[in-house]
Amino acid sequence: MRFSFTEEQEELRRVVRRFLEEKSPVGEVRRLMETAEGYEPAVWKQASLELALPGVAIPEAYGGQGAGFSELALVCEEMGRALLCAPYLGSIGLAANAVLNAGTDAQKAALLPAIARGETLAALAVAEPNGRWDAGGIACEARRSGTGWTLHGEKSFVVDGAVADLLIVAARAPELTLFSLRANVDGVVRRALQTIDPTRKLAKITLSGARAEPLGEVGRGAAPLAQTLDQGAALLANEAVGVAQKLLEMTVDYAKQRVQFGRPIGSFQAIKHKCADMLLELELARSAAYVAAATADESPKELAANASLAKALVADAALHIAAESIQIHGGLGFTFEQDVHLFFKRAKASEVLLGDPTYHRERVAQQWGL
């Protein structure tokens, strides 16, 4: 297992960080989080055409850059650090990976190039209003209709679902199968959900007889779906590391500047010990997230265990770091004007999205044969 980044990876990180510092300052985050779309199309286009970020890990045969999962994870981490408002996790982290894992060669060739170019936005619809992320929670039905299939049911917590052009839906036919359909066909009704994190948009999707095409073989969707969700958990963990990193930086800077009782509050042990503990948690979280990403590249059999380990550990760490950040910012930290709450909200939402820490720890226990 690799425990360091290559020079090329470090360079990719520098390029992405520079781009995001310019395009996603916190003022821009605040503007976009109030919009219905939740992202800036001009920036998305630039990220796609100039930096080729959507296609970074999509194979060259399907119009991507063909880099590894670690590169994809690194991009997600930087996006978390900048709290970028964009449909990257939904379209790339989840939907594109679902197509790669489940689709036939012809389907991949048909769907992925436009996703890699950033022209098609895609979304993966798995969970339903019951909020479960395991296959057992999926009730959405696929019915035969002539030569094709129609979908019936309700999907929720769909990341970037409201802006997507293409939907990938997990349904029962009656065995688990992934289907693809255009988002604008008859029988699809989408509603943006109100959430605690305005920087990431989620949708509820009602499917009443929408026509859809199976991705890969009917009845063989369970394994590619599980793999996709493991990848998604690993990516969300890496993103949360970026969020936590930024929180720690903001908070340490604040502790150095804020003066009470005649000295910077960062000179009080009550504060500096909190900061040391935050660093401790961040570095553990970083290790777990990086290892999960490297596992996807180097040792896919262990991905389920390592992705769930990272998802649970990072979620706890990021949320604790976020809570301590607000605490150290004091009353100001609880105001809307201060930026900490934006990152807190992302950390809190990411804690439960794709499965909460308890769920993922139980998966680890099963993977380890406990």
Binding site: S267, Q269, A276, E283
Partner: protein, 420 residues
Amino acid sequence: MEAEDVRREVRAWLEANWNPDLSLVEWRNQLADSGWAAPTWPERWYGRGLAVALGDVVSEEIDRIGAVGPPTGSGMTLVAPTLLEHGTDELKQRLLRPILTGEHTWCQLFSEPGSGSDLAGLTTRAELDPATDEYVVNGQKLWSTSAHHAMYGMLLARTNWDVPKHRGITYFALEMHQPGVVVRPLRQMNGYASFNEVFLNGARVHRLNVIGEVGNGWTVALATLAHERRMFDAIQARGRSPKGKGRAVDENRAEIADLMEPYKWYPQRAGRVDLIVERAKQTGRNGDPVVRQEVVKLLSLARAAGWTAQRAKAARVLGKPPGPEGSLGKLYASQIAKGCARVHTLISGTDTLLHGADGPAEGLIGEIVLSVPAVSIAGGTDEIQRNIVSERVLGLPKDPAIEVDKPFRDVPKNLSGPRR
């Protein structure tokens, strides 16, 4: 010199000279004369002036052939580097060789009952008796491993009370076998007595035994402390008993058993994360969802800490400047140990209160829960460690110090007198 040249040369010498039938001291004398006992020391002082990495090659060859190497204790790892850096030639002449042969073992006389985290606040007093050119030492030292069989102690004592605390300390090589030195085992809450307390009542040490300058002992002590990390590595690497037969090997085995004796409960102090899954299965507690959660939480922490150490190592290999991941290991270790005590308790339930032959896992669980409290104190408390991390890694401002510029005489201290 290249690694392979060193390897060839030391191998040839060992093949010609290694003789397990010699006494340990006879063999170590030959080794010292050859320059292979301490190849990284200067040529003038029993060494060959080799780089540390080449010294490792020599150790590998000694292990490979199954020969007995130099001793592992604090003499080699702490005292010798300190003497080489700060000692007079006369001291080096007198003290280095018996360290190399293992005839002299040493102990540390640093910590005191009134001076733990604040080591520079020590109050053991050394006063020069002009009639004999000896310092007379009075005070009490604590946490001295192996003091009961040490020939010498690395002693820090205050020789000047009118200057700030860091500037009035002197570093001595104190002979332990004298009437003014009384060593008593210090019993710990877990029942072991791995350390000693040392009472100094009019103990005498000649002025020629000052290491470094009078009043400059703090700087010399920092040199010793800088090598402490390496001592634990050395004990881990070389604290195994040698294989093979012969007088030198047998004597070396006894020497290592003495050296390792104080550390036999250290695995339990670290929490025995290795036993967690096995114990959960044995007891059937792995079926309990709360236990499953806690086990995974703990083992995830332990794995992530291991991965963090590997990241630090990988960065080192690439020659990158050390990142924050390198400074956190001790705090992780203490978090893991405390987590282990908690999860072992969760698994063992009421049985946790039973100990010894009545206790779960032949008393190991009792030993774990009674040993873990040491881990966040020994070698620098977690609180001091957090100060270091927040100041050196995060760049947070220091707590304003109120005492460092005052004459030590005027600094508030713990009440003097016997500890109990």
